[in-house]
Symmetry: C2
Subunit: 442 residues, 2 copies
């Protein structure tokens, strides 16, 4: 027998592969070397079948692909719970925008990003897609943490943190992409145009061109609110999706966040352009933006990922909670208990999320040849007992706190519910201190 020497073997768990057959392997084994998965199978009983530097006992729990959060604004963890339960304009103009103007700088961004990364890692997210400003600071903090990320430098036709002069917004984003293009295979730089109502046609075109030339993802908020829909309709006679399509910025490298206010024609456009959609049910519910027609997206074959949105509008970044909300929201919205099944929602949080980010060949499932981004859940708990169907439990009963271990590219980033390589106490102390200052003025 050929014995292979692995870096790590995870055993004694039920492996939810999320491969094309949705295979679930009881008493499964996942082995990797140099961050790449080399074997996924039912445990062989021969002595010495698995020789590895490290063996991780999953304790009879679940082993699954790391979760992929396709839309967030990492530094906004600093504003978690600062202002809730108020009309959108009061929330944005009275609280969030002033707090951003006053407190966001390269230093506070590092604190906010680190706080978000701690929260995400502890709840099983291994890849996130961020869009914000001063993205170099975010990228440095992400690099430190070992998280995998798509990071979008923000473009908006208003003065923004780090870009006081809007005229320089696209070139700032292009420069960011150049700096990070080949910095790490964990980081994919990107350009994030805020929205069709805060960026001019010229800005949208230039930003998309810069992203296309660099071959990186182009992120944009699209059709999030009724107000946005009506504004674009009044200005152009088109829906936000039609408007962006006319400009030519919709293609398979475009990540559209929200897509709530879309009709059948818009869905056809999004499908034919192969746009990926980031669905953010908890943010859309909390801000009363509306319900995105996700079952229609899925029927049209559109790649749909899940996102938490920033902490100011959710107010956490727990992808298990997001899965649960997605599955339940679409059932009640469609008056159909078969809508948004557990499996469909798990796909959104893993392999389809990877597709949205253009990373489906590297992550999103536990398959030979993919990166070893995976998590182990402790299922030996009252709220996960008994266990009939792992997919159902993951969506309807589990929560972020059930995540015990997290591996990204084969490196252990969470060990028995403790984040490794980050000083959680210091980060929380820094964030709390900043929060006290922010709270005084609010």
């Amino acid at each position: 027998m050929h014995v292979m020497h692995f870096d790590c073997v995870v055993c004694n768990g039920t492996v939810l592969t999320m491969n094309p057959d949705f295979e679930i392997i009881e008493d499964g084994v996942v082995c990797w070397k140099n961050g790449r998965i080399e074997r996924v199978e039912k445990r062989r009983r021969e002595k010495g079948a698995y020789s590895a530097r490290e063996t991780v006992d999953a304790g009879g729990g679940l082993v699954m692909p790391g979760l992929i959060n396709t839309h967030t604004h990492l530094p906004m963890s600093l504003f978690r719970g600062l202002a809730d339960d108020m009309p959108l304009s009061e929330w944005l103009n009275g609280h969030i925008f002033p707090a951003e103007a006053r407190y966001i700088n390269a230093c506070s961004i590092c604190t906010g990003v680190r706080l978000s990364l701690l929260e995400m890692l502890l709840s099983g997210t291994t890849t996130c897609c961020d869009g914000y400003f001063l993205e170099d600071a975010a990228a440095s903090a992400v690099m430190e943490s070992g998280m995998r990320a798509v990071l979008g430098q923000g473009v908006i036709d208003l003065p923004a943190p780090g870009v006081p002069e809007p005229a320089g917004n696209v070139s700032a984003a292009g420069d960011f992409v150049s700096r990070w293009k080949n910095a790490s295979d964990l980081i994919t730089p990107s350009i994030f145009c805020h929205s069709p109502y805060t960026c001019s046609e010229k800005t949208l075109l230039q930003a998309k061109r810069a992203a296309a030339e660099a071959g990186v993802p182009f992120q944009i908020h699209v059709a999030e609110t009724r107000g946005e829909y009506e504004q674009i309709r009044a200005a152009t006679g088109e829906s936000p999706v039609q408007f962006l399509d006319r400009l030519g910025v919709l293609d398979e490298k475009t990540i559209a966040a929200h897509a709530v206010w879309v009709d059948a024609e818009d869905i056809e456009i999004l499908a034919s352009r192969k746009v990926g959609i980031s669905h953010n049910p908890e943010s859309n519910m909390k801000l009363a933006s509306g319900t995105a027609p996700v079952p229609d997206f899925l029927r049209a074959g559109i790649a749909v990922g899940l996102g938490t949105d920033g902490c100011a509008s959710n107010n956490n970044q727990d992808m298990f909670a997001e899965m649960d909300s997605a599955a339940k929201l679409h059932k009640v919205a469609a008056a159909d208990p078969t809508a948004a099944s557990a499996r469909q929602v798990l796909c959104m949080a893993t392999i389809e999320g990877a597709r949205v980010l253009g990373l489906q060949h590297r992550i999103g499932s536990i398959e030979v040849g993919k990166q070893a981004d995976l998590i182990v859940l402790d299922t030996h708990q009252p709220h996960l007992t008994p266990m009939y169907h792992p997919e159902s439990h993951l969506v309807y009963a589990a929560r972020g706190a059930d995540v015990r271990d997290v591996f990204i590219r084969g490196c252990r980033r969470v060990n028995n519910c403790i984040v490794t390589g980050m000083d959680a106490q210091q980060i929380m102390a820094d964030a709390a201190a900043l929060g006290r200052r922010i709270g005084e003025r609010n």
Copy 2:
């Protein structure tokens, strides 16, 4: 200075009292003796101000009233995740009813109830309102655990566990109430009529009369689904609420679960009869039953509590998740981000839930004279940092796993995330073994 000797003092926490002024006391102290709260105040600095047998350091966390789950079916934890994502009739007739017929007996009920109690205690619930069959077994298990509960023996005009002959259903319920009426001040027996479509007019009248004569709560599922609404409308020309009101079974001792399919006239009836409503947003979403008009209930002055419903339709009993879903569902349903505020939802889970159960003079808030039912949350975690508004964090960011300690009538039932006085390992092993048998046939 008069020094009082307490049984226990909780200090070094922020106390969310949920009193009529919604007072939040930073660096607050809660003291009790013989299970009764004797003092709630800002910590006094004098030496010897608090003399107690036990001092609990809340570690800078939040101290709040124990959560009140106003609607559940405790033994159904055994069917958690057995069948999901299917049409209601297939779910009920193809899976849940057969599993109940085959596996529910006094012994399995004990296991299922204990499993639910473990889950509830660990996630901060100190009072639950149950409705099921073989309720004596449930009551014994609840007594053992130290949980506070309203327990309703089920009445249905079909053969049921423990009541094979429907003709005896009301007398069985009456006997249950007699046996438990004065057994413990933690237990309130009750009669639970399944619904207006599974109980005849005669059964409903007799059951309500038996409950009224004993002075105990009368529980009933009301207007849960469109199907029920149409069936009652076709048979009587009335809505389910109108029908029950004509029978005279609606009064301040009636707990109406769900109340999804109600109109303005129904709401007027419910308000004038002082019926308490148990709102179950996650169950209503998952089963695609619909969205109860909770903002209208609140405007009409109706007492609204929160419930998780049984684990077959949720699939957990985490009241923090339920609060989050309630707040978000009503915002998106009403297209109004101010609907179902964090404070309103916290009221539903505490003092208003107590009102629904008729226990508002004893529990639901941290006030002198009330029972010491309270919980301590560990807020020193990334997803609860920074902290601007405790009410917002509890609804939008916290989760059951953040509960560190639980006290019921002054007794500690959870100590640093471990349930005291119950053998969690054995209960999970029993439930898992039963689950394996149930799963084989499903």
